[in-house]
């Protein structure tokens, strides 16, 4: 089990996709498909939809919260986001999507190394944990 801090509560299961560099959702993913479109990103072409997305942090644009919320609405967002450093703009997208659509996309900050494979993310008010599915 890996401990984590909850930024946005929720439960999700998915295959881990580890990003090698931070990603700005605005200009970084296509909310219509979930594909990474940032030409500077080493994982351009990968798809984040339904994955447990492990990312070092966000990057750049303050529109990322909007693009993330739109991806959640459109069903192309990651199932959960595991940050290595807190990024309020990422959390914000999930919070507003929950307000608007009742969706639950957990956003957590990992406190130890994140295992690869298929993971269950459980993020509650008391804390969060990541476990192999």
């Amino acid at each position: 089990m890996t401990a984590a801090r909850t930024l946005v509560a929720g439960e999700a299961t998915g295959d881990v996709l580890v990003l090698d560099e931070p990603l700005s959702f605005w200009g970084g993913i296509d909310p219509g498909s979930g594909e990474i479109i940032d030409v500077h990103h080493p994982q351009r072409g990968a798809n984040v939809a339904g994955r447990v997305l492990v990312m070092p942090g966000g990057r750049g644009s303050s529109s990322s919260s909007s693009v993330f919320a739109e991806a959640i609405r459109a069903g192309t967002a990651p199932a959960a986001i595991v940050l290595l450093e807190p990024d309020p703009i990422v959390a914000l997208g999930a919070i507003v999507a929950r307000e608007l659509y009742g969706t639950q996309v957990p956003v957590v900050v990992a406190e130890a190394e994140v295992p690869i494979g298929r993971l269950v993310v459980e993020a509650g008010l008391g804390g969060a944990r990541l476990e192999p599915a």
Binding site: G27, V39, H40, G60, S61, S62, S63, S66, P86, L92
Partner: protein, 419 residues
């Protein structure tokens, strides 16, 4: 630790001021928890980015707020949006998207935001004072606000920007606090010749490196002249907030919280990165995706051009006639000023297409361009390939204008040589 709320915060939360205020306060409060804040503070003003259409979710949020009776409680400016309302014929997007985008813009105006439609609100006459707490969105404006104005804002994203404007409150965390504003990293220019320091082309490249090195940390740059202009600082911040998450930087001897290195760092020992010409040249190459001399168009004014930049553009064009389209993005307020002084007429006579309210990398304005687009903006160079599928060549404004006049890419390589 729970977030301490004032009585009026609790009143907003409980819905006594309406549904929209309650929603806005819920978002501010939850973000306070995310940011680890123990309380909220007042803001004097806000700059809102949520007016830019990215799909249904942003519009749904604006509809929800407006239906709940939302109205801003502090002076609030609006960022660029999807449409150029002064030159609507330029947008080639599909009518349904245009209608939704227009609706989203109108909703934000209906909440009491000023239709400034600019990503450079710091170029408007009334801008935040040193030390003032504000809630700004738009990454380049956030960097400028903290670094150059010495006003205080965090990286507020779409949604919390308008929530802060409605409630007048933000979490007391991050860059609102003295200790978080100190440099944790020094970037020292080493062996950069004066001719490059004197060239506009340096500053977006320097910002690009800053973003790469600093990530989200506050860094101090050492080695720039004390008279470095606001336009050059703007170029640094815009590029740094694209390649990184930079919300604040210091330029020692230039920006207001960095009269010397000790002030910038608070006297703490911090790691130092030496920026050599090799590093700067490599960063410059990273900003271009095309390397042939074929040229399709030129795009300037990202962030929105200042009056000084428009004057410089007119001066560089002189009596020349560009062989490829030149677009320049600016604020409608700056355009009005340019109109009064005859500058706009000069630019239009030279064939320059002025774009307001939006930006050429956000919306389908440029249409089918035959070849790479040249830009003097690190931010445009960073985002345009993904956003509008353009191939990009980076150069200083002079390079861009000379290239437009020649109809092919011309870049002054001498400023990038080491001696």
């Amino acid at each position: 630790m729970p977030v301490e709320l004032a009585e009026r915060d609790r009143a907003l939360l409980s819905g006594t001021h309406g549904e929209a205020s309650a929603l806005a306060m819920r978002v501010v409060l939850e973000m306070a928890e995310v940011m680890g804040a123990t309380g909220l503070i007042d803001v004097a003003s806000a700059h809102v980015d949520g007016c830019l259409y990215h799909g249904r979710a942003g519009l749904d949020f604006a509809e929800r707020l407006a239906a709940g009776g939302a109205s801003v409680s502090v002076p609030t400016t609006l960022n660029v949006a999807y449409l150029d309302l002064l030159h609507p014929e330029l947008n080639r997007g599909d009518p349904a998207t245009r209608a939704d985008a227009r609706r989203q813009m109108d909703l934000y105006v209906s909440m009491g935001c000023r239709p400034t439609w600019t990503c450079a609100p710091y170029q408007l006459p009334e801008r935040p004072a040193f030390g003032q707490h504000v809630a700004w969105a738009e990454s380049n404006a956030i960097a400028f606000c903290n670094s150059v104005l010495g006003a205080r804002t965090n990286r507020y994203g779409d949604f919390i920007d308008i929530c802060a404007a409605i409630t007048g409150r933000v979490p007391f965390a991050g860059l609102h606090r003295d200790e978080e504003r100190r440099a944790r990293l020094v970037l020292r220019l080493d062996g950069v010749p004066d001719k490059l320091i004197d060239s506009d082309a340096l500053y977006p490249v320097l910002g690009h490196v800053l973003g790469r090195e600093a990530g989200s940390a506050v860094a101090a740059i050492v080695g720039l002249p004390t008279d470095t202009s606001e336009d050059r600082l703007k170029a640094i911040g815009a590029a740094a907030a694209s390649s990184g998450s930079v919300a604040m930087f210091h330029v020692v001897g230039v920006t207001p919280e960095a009269s010397n290195l000790r002030t910038a760092t608070g006297g703490e020992p911090v790691p130092e990165v030496v920026l050599t010409m090799d590093r700067l040249r490599a960063a410059r190459e990273e900003l271009s995706t095309a390397d042939a001399d074929h040229l399709g168009a030129v795009s300037l004014g990202t962030p929105h051009a200042s009056l000084a930049e428009l004057e410089r553009l007119a001066g560089l064009l002189g009596q020349g006639r560009p062989l490829v389209p030149i677009y320049v993005n600016t604020a409608r307020d700056v355009l009005a000023e340019a109109g009064r002084g005859g500058l706009l007429a000069t630019l239009e006579a030279a064939g320059v297409q002025v774009v307001t309210d939006t930006c050429t990398y956000l919306t389908p304005i440029m249409g089918e361009v035959d070849g790479p687009v040249m830009t003097d903006s690190g931010k445009w160079a960073w985002y345009a390939p993904a956003n509008i599928g353009a191939e990009v060549v980076f150069g200083g404004m002079e390079d861009c204008v000379l290239s437009a006049l020649a109809g092919r890419v011309v870049r002054d390589e001498t400023v990038w040589s080491s001696s």
